[in-house]
């Protein structure tokens, strides 16, 4: 039982972080706070992948000539690290595009609050 908790508690903290990000994306009315929630969500996903790549008593995936023997258990899994490396940079690009869209919305409607924005848009179309 203790083994189960020691092997899983990291996942639970990461899932709490993911739900916090989801809360920010759904319940907050300000568009900038929605983007902050989206960033927290992304970080939770990235942490989940990196946490799932770990092995006990293993080192970073950079080959070292001092290590001999069975190489597979000596290095942690390099594949999730590679995928998350690209995901981080795509996250930065997504943030840039999101802020550009927000700036355009603010220039047109002069507000970032969701309710006011919807009212202004309805006024604009009528």
């Amino acid at each position: 039982m203790l083994d189960f908790f020691a092997g899983h508690y990291a996942y639970w903290f990461i899932l709490v972080l993911l739900v916090i990000g989801l809360y920010g994306m759904i319940f907050k009315k300000n568009l900038v706070k929605k983007i902050i929630g989206m960033s927290i969500f992304q970080v939770a996903i990235i942490l989940f992948f990196v946490a799932s790549a770990s092995k006990w008593n293993a080192t970073v995936p950079i080959l070292e000539h001092g290590i001999q023997g069975e190489a597979l258990v000596q290095y942690i899994n390099p594949l999730p690290h590679t995928l998350m490396l690209t995901a981080i940079v795509v996250g930065v690009a997504i943030n840039g595009v999101a802020f550009a869209l927000i700036i355009r919305i603010y220039r047109r409607y002069r507000t970032l609050d969701e309710n006011t924005l919807l009212r202004n848009m309805k006024d604009d179309t009528e």
């Binding site: 899983h8 759904i26 080959l63 997504i94």
Partner: protein
């Protein structure tokens, strides 16, 4: 109405935690991702990378070898995504001329 929304969010959290109990222990050497062979009998991708990265590419850093050699199509597409994001920012926020304004 608001409390129902919070309740749904909490239910979602507990659903996720319940699903996570089916995962193997973190750092377990015998889990499916960390084993040498996949359940169908072929070699796992990550164990192939660990065994052969230095032999194939003369690069000690396996992450770089996987990023730029084994999975370079992936990186090419991802770099195109960054370029597209930069172009979108430029097109959305560039300064227009006066006669272009509505």
């Amino acid at each position: 109405m608001k409390y129902i929304n919070y309740f749904i969010l909490l239910v979602f959290l507990f659903l996720l935690i319940y699903a996570s109990t089916g995962l193997p222990n973190r750092g377990d050497l015998d889990s499916v991702v960390n084993r040498d062979r996949s359940p169908s009998g072929t070699q796992n991708a990550s164990s192939y990378y660990i065994r052969n990265a230095y032999k194939d590419t003369h690069t000690p850093n396996m992450v770089t070898a996987v990023l730029a050699d084994y999975r370079s199509y992936d990186t090419l597409g991802e770099e195109t995504v960054i370029l597209t994001a930069g172009l979108i920012c430029f097109l959305l926020l560039r300064r227009r001329r006066k006669d272009d304004e509505e």
